[in-house]
């Protein structure tokens, strides 16, 4: 078990990132921190893909480098996923700015109280 944790520490990091991200997303009352939690969660997935592409002793997939190569496809996928993640963060932060301008708070609990009077 210990051996597995030591040789597969990347996957341990993936699980930790997913857990920390989900916890922040659900438990933190601050809206900006919720968005950060969403980012941490996505980072865990990015690391999962990149780790899966890794091969022991392999080089970058360039012509003339000589095999074996790491798999380039997951890197490309994650590049796309990062772009998606950035756009999502941008939209989320824009919404947070609008909520702050409207209600004057970033705290979810205060927001609920303010909106109860609407």
């Amino acid at each position: 078990m210990i051996d597995l944790l030591l040789t597969r520490y990347n996957y341990v990091a993936v699980v930790l990132l997913l857990g920390v991200g989900t916890y922040m997303l659900i438990e933190n009352a601050n809206l900006v921190k919720k968005v950060i939690g969403m980012n941490v969660f996505q980072t865990g997935i990015f690391l999962f893909f990149i780790t899966a592409a890794y091969a022991e002793g392999a080089g970058p997939p360039l012509v003339g480098h000589g095999g074996p190569y790491v798999s380039p496809l997951p890197h490309v996928l994650i590049l796309t996923a990062i772009v998606v993640g950035v756009s999502l963060t941008a939209v989320a932060l824009a919404l947070v700015v609008r909520i702050y301008a409207e209600y004057g708070t970033l705290d979810e609990d205060v927001l609920r109280e303010v909106r109860a009077d609407e």
């Binding site: 989900t22 997303l25 809206l31 919720k34 968005v35 969403m38 969660f41 996505q42 997935i45 999962f48 893909f49 899966a52 496809l73 997951p74 996928l77 796309t80 996923a81 998606v84 756009s87 999502l88 939209v91 989320a92 919404l95 947070v96 609008r98 909520i99 409207e102 209600y103 927001l111 609920r112 909106r115 109860a116 609407e118």
Partner: protein, 515 residues
């Protein structure tokens, strides 16, 4: 001709950019660009559907990279039907939004982007490509929900964004597991590898299935993953609620069907009966829970939103039963629900614009004040309940029959009980409109603000939105009323066409469901 699948995606994106640019010069022209764009989209999707519904499958290799390595767009009868539905609903709701707004160029750009995302999800044959279109759809939908003027819309959109992103991310994680064991992203290729080289009972395959289906279930708002949906639908502008409720969850439910029948295939269920039991069980729970929650609502749009939770449970259950008749029923109900629910949201928007009524209690005596709108709401509501010959009946009939044939008595019972519950919440509305006396004109406004809630229990967030009630009645034009009535007529007419449509699907389905 074989380039049409790519055009279905490229055309709305192009029109979206064009609408934004033209809108800077003359804001009203953005609507015209969107109108032309969606009209051409209807033509292209119709052309494709006419060709494919004979049983032929159109494949298009994006960028001329051959299938297992490049991205492939695959159009069969199932995907062509959904793509056509997307185009037609987009066209119809656009007509509504010309009168009811929003009218900013940015709105039309986002609208077309959403059409592109939804069309892409329907035609793609690549699991990662599906993720990208899922996120394009999501981003456009979040922005559209937020295009309402109130702070409520922004809060609803943020909640939608946070939960929707987790859903899409879970899907991506599932794709990761599937990719690691199969080494491919192409749906057909993946289906070929699973079961032969990789056993269906492999832990990674099971994990991939669980994550992919859970992720897509979040997007199609199946109970208990529906929490974003009522607030997003209720806080969005009326045209947007109609569009999103009719399409976004619908196409996600289609994606579940696609993943089940084209990637994991029915053989996966045969090897893992527990997986099938779980999906059907949760879907059945969603049917009942969605209906019960809908009965407790006082705001009409929230009630319609919870009704969707219930109907999508039914559709997902049908796809998970995965016999030919069940998938036919699921598809018919998917399309029928989109027309009926979109129509109901349009009607709710028109009623709100005409009389300011947004709560069930305020619909009192609507039939005498707005006979056509009330009639359309009644017809659509009864169609949703499943009164023959409307399309809601045909879908439920197929699903119930398939459930009995496959031995899922539990689902057959759920369909019956949910029909009664659907009747419970829609009958409340119809009773208010036709059999309760209309409030006098003077009492109307005062009474409406202090309206007694119809039910004591509201759901978790339970707030009321009295402050945002639009104060200007009689904004509704004859064109909008005609559109709503047309949708109501369509929901009945589709019921007659549904059996023919089921015949058209016949060549497609056996090929998909072949063991």
């Amino acid at each position: 001709m074989s380039d049409v699948p790519a055009l279905l995606v490229a055309l709305p994106i192009l029109a979206s950019v064009l609408a934004l640019l033209v809108g800077q010069w003359r804001p009203r022209a953005a609507w015209a660009v969107a109108f032309l764009g969606t009209a051409v989209q209807v033509g292209a999707a119709g052309l494709l559907a006419a060709r494919v519904l004979g049983g032929e499958t159109v494949r298009y290799a994006v960028g001329d990279f051959a299938a297992p390595y490049g991205i492939e767009l695959v159009v069969d009868g199932l995907s062509a039907s959904v793509a056509l539905l997307v185009a037609v609903v987009a066209f119809g709701v656009l007509l509504y939004s010309r009168v009811a707004g929003p009218r900013e160029p940015a709105f039309h750009a986002q609208y077309l982007l959403l059409v592109a995302g939804l069309s892409g999800m329907s035609v793609t044959g690549d699991v990662f490509n599906l993720y990208v279109f899922l996120e394009i759809t999501g981003l456009a939908a979040y922005a559209l929900v937020a295009s309402g003027e109130s702070g409520r819309a922004a809060v609803g959109a943020l909640k939608y964004l946070l939960i929707g992103t987790v859903g899409a991310s879970l899907y991506l994680l599932g794709v990761g597991y599937a990719f690691i064991v199969t080494g491919t992203l192409n749906m057909a290729d993946m289906a070929g590898t699973l079961g032969s080289e990789i056993a269906y009972t492999h832990p990674a395959v099971l994990t991939a299935f669980a994550l992919v289906v859970t992720g897509l279930a979040v997007k199609s708002a199946v109970f208990p993953l529906h929490t974003w949906q009522p607030e997003a639908y209720a806080s969005a502008p009326d045209g947007v609620s109609a569009f999103i409720s009719a399409l976004v969850s619908t196409v996600s439910a289609y994606a579940i069907a696609r993943v089940i029948v084209s990637v994991f295939t029915v053989e996966f269920f045969r090897a893992n009966p527990v997986a099938q039991d779980l999906v059907v069980g949760i879907a059945g729970l969603s049917v009942v829970a969605g209906s019960v929650l809908a009965v407790t609502q006082t705001e009409v749009k929230r009630m319609l939103a919870y009704s969707s939770v219930s109907q999508f449970g039914l559709v997902v259950a049908a796809f998970a039963i995965a016999t030919e008749r069940a998938v036919t029923g699921g598809t018919v109900h998917l399309i029928g629900h989109a027309v009926m629910k979109g129509g109901l949201f349009l009607a709710a928007g028109a009623v709100a614009a005409a009389t300011g009524a947004r709560y069930v209690s305020e619909y009192r005596g609507l039939a005498s004040r707005r006979p056509f709108l009330a009639g359309a709401v009644a017809v659509l509501a009864l169609a949703m309940v499943g009164v023959p010959p409307a399309v809601g009946f045909v879908g439920k009939w197929y699903i119930a029959l398939a459930a009995v044939e496959a031995g899922w008595w539990f689902i057959a019972a759920v369909i019956l009980s949910s029909t009664l519950l659907t009747l419970a919440y829609f009958a409340r509305l119809v009773e208010r409109m036709y059999f309760a006396s209309a409030p006098t004109a003077a009492a109307g406004t005062a009474d409406a603000v202090g309206a007694t809630p119809d039910a004591a229990v509201a759901d978790g967030s339970g707030e009321t939105a009295e402050a945002e009630r639009p104060g200007t009645p009689d904004r509704v034009t004859p064109g909008v009323v005609a559109l709503v009535v047309a949708v109501a007529v369509l929901s009945v007419a589709l019921g007659f066409a549904a059996t023919d449509f089921a015949q058209l699907l016949r060549p497609t389905l056996p090929e998909l469901l072949a063991p």
